[in-house]
């Protein structure tokens, strides 16, 4: 079992997280397979919650399976599908099951997913959910009633440094940190200078002292994926430097260029003061994560709870 983010932060080690998308089906082996590919290479694995508003196995269920398979899960939880009662009960269940981290977000709108006719809940927003999580950890429900046992997970959040209003994005994270967030993972970083300006503002606000910042990265594996990121994923910012990088690259070399760009981005980000680690998003490409990390000079560095470094 990997030791989780707290161990990495406490040791002052560059933390690595990756993403594990649960299957569209009741197949536990799909989760086990992905978890085993990542075990030993990352400190924790994000288990997504109906990502893109598309139905998958629940993040709580898949997080438990991932944990049994030896990786430390980050259970993602969104406000899209649950009101405040359901959010609290799921967070308590995560606490009882020993899930070491939760990542709280508003969630994609159902209109963009596979059940666009569904009722969007959004009883709370991502900031209020973060606030609610801290209230639970402090030992009370939102109603003020005391809990018998308080959960102990670490509280994570997300931010997109590249979405308008740009000048507001650091302040928005500061608000989430004031509400209780202890680590943050960001949208894909393809524009390091813009990210660095956002981070500088966070340092000025004193946010990085209280919240570990893990920028999101991921490999562009085909020209189709490049177009998909540009047009179909809300909030992804692709600067012209990325286009320059892929221009004239023959189709069979695009994946290699994408891997190299991803590894270089990790190295650039690691140099920035205030970056505590990196979050690798490689949907359906979990088997490629070790190679990316290795190229970035990060592999395999995660010590398991037993004190041994996992074999590849």
């Amino acid at each position: 079992m990997t030791a989780g983010l707290l161990a990495a932060f406490d040791a002052g080690r560059f933390a690595v997280t990756a993403e594990l998308g649960p299957p569209r089906g009741a197949d536990p082996d799909a989760v086990v397979r992905k978890a085993k590919l990542l075990r030993g290479w990352v400190d924790a694995v994000n288990v997504t919650d109906n990502q893109g508003a598309r139905v998958r196995m629940s993040s709580l269920g898949a997080a438990v399976i991932a944990q049994r398979s030896g990786v430390s899960p980050v259970m993602q939880l969104t406000c899209r599908d649950r009101n405040r009662l359901a959010l609290q009960s799921d967070l308590l269940a995560a606490g009882a099951l020993g899930i070491p981290h939760v990542l709280l977000l508003t969630g994609d709108h159902p209109k963009l997913g596979d059940h666009p006719e569904a009722k969007p809940v959004f009883d709370l927003d991502g900031v209020q959910l973060t606030w609610l999580a801290r209230t639970l950890r402090d030992g009370t429900l939102m109603s003020g009633e005391p809990l018998t046992v308080a959960p102990r997970w670490l509280i994570g959040t997300v931010e997109n440094p590249f979405a308008p209003p740009l000048s507001h994005r650091a302040d928005r994270l500061a608000k989430k940190v004031a509400a209780g967030a202890e680590f943050v993972q960001t949208q894909y970083v393809f524009d390091v200078p813009v990210f660095a300006r956002w981070l500088a503002r966070l340092r000025d606000l004193g946010v990085t002292e209280h919240c570990a910042v893990l920028p999101g990265v991921g490999p562009i594996r085909s020209t189709r994926m490049l177009e998909f990121l540009r047009t179909a994923v809300p909030g992804v910012h692709l600067p012209s430097t990325v286009d320059d990088r892929f221009r004239g690259v023959p189709a069979d070399r695009v994946a290699e260029t994408g891997l190299r760009l991803c590894a270089e981005t990790i190295q650039e980000l690691a140099e920035l003061p205030g970056v505590a680690g990196v979050h690798v998003m490689a949907f359906g490409f979990e088997h490629g994560v070790p190679e990316i990390l290795e190229r970035a000079g990060l592999a395999p560095h995660v010590t398991t709870l037993e004190g041994s470094v996992d074999a590849r």
Partner: protein
């Protein structure tokens, strides 16, 4: 059933909104009025209908009954498709459009620009408590004058 929320561009400039607010700030007369209105269901209905019509026209008001406008540059966060009360989501397009309704601007981008232009940027740092859905359809002016909104917005503190 009302239509689902869609970002609404306010029809009144932010400086005017802040000016109008100074006229509506709670005082003894307003509190007396609010108490009287709550005693008379008929008067309350007429008053609430007036509030609904005027705020619908100006702000796209959805009558949540706990108005956030003074802290959001007078752009209504309940017209956000996710009804976010604490700032924009991460899906805003590079030119500031809503991810759910790409034809219109994100209401939180409008809120930010209006608050900044009016010197109220720090309002956006305040924590907005979750909405009390029991107040849906009630008069937010009456609730405000009765002091029920007093802890709706609080200073964010670690």
């Amino acid at each position: 059933m009302t239509a689902w929320p869609k970002p609404f561009r306010p029809r009144l400039s932010a400086p005017w909104c802040y000016r109008v607010h100074t006229v509506l700030v709670t005082n003894r007369a307003y509190r007396w009025l609010a108490t009287r209105l709550e005693r008379s269901p008929r008067a309350y209905r007429v008053f609430t209908a007036t509030e609904r019509v005027s705020k619908e026209k100006l702000f796209g008001c959805r009558m949540c009954g706990q108005c956030a406008l003074p802290a959001t540059g007078y752009a209504c966060p309940m017209t956000c498709p996710k009804q976010l009360r604490n700032g924009p989501c991460g899906g805003v397009s590079p030119d500031g459009r809503c991810e759910v309704h790409p034809a219109v601007h994100c209401v939180w981008v409008l809120a930010h620009d209006r608050a900044v232009a009016a010197g109220h940027r720090t309002d956006l740092d305040l924590l907005q408590r979750p909405v009390d859905h029991r107040e849906q359809g009630r008069s937010s002016w009456v609730n405000y004058w009765q002091g029920r909104d007093d802890d709706m917005v609080i200073e964010a503190r670690r």
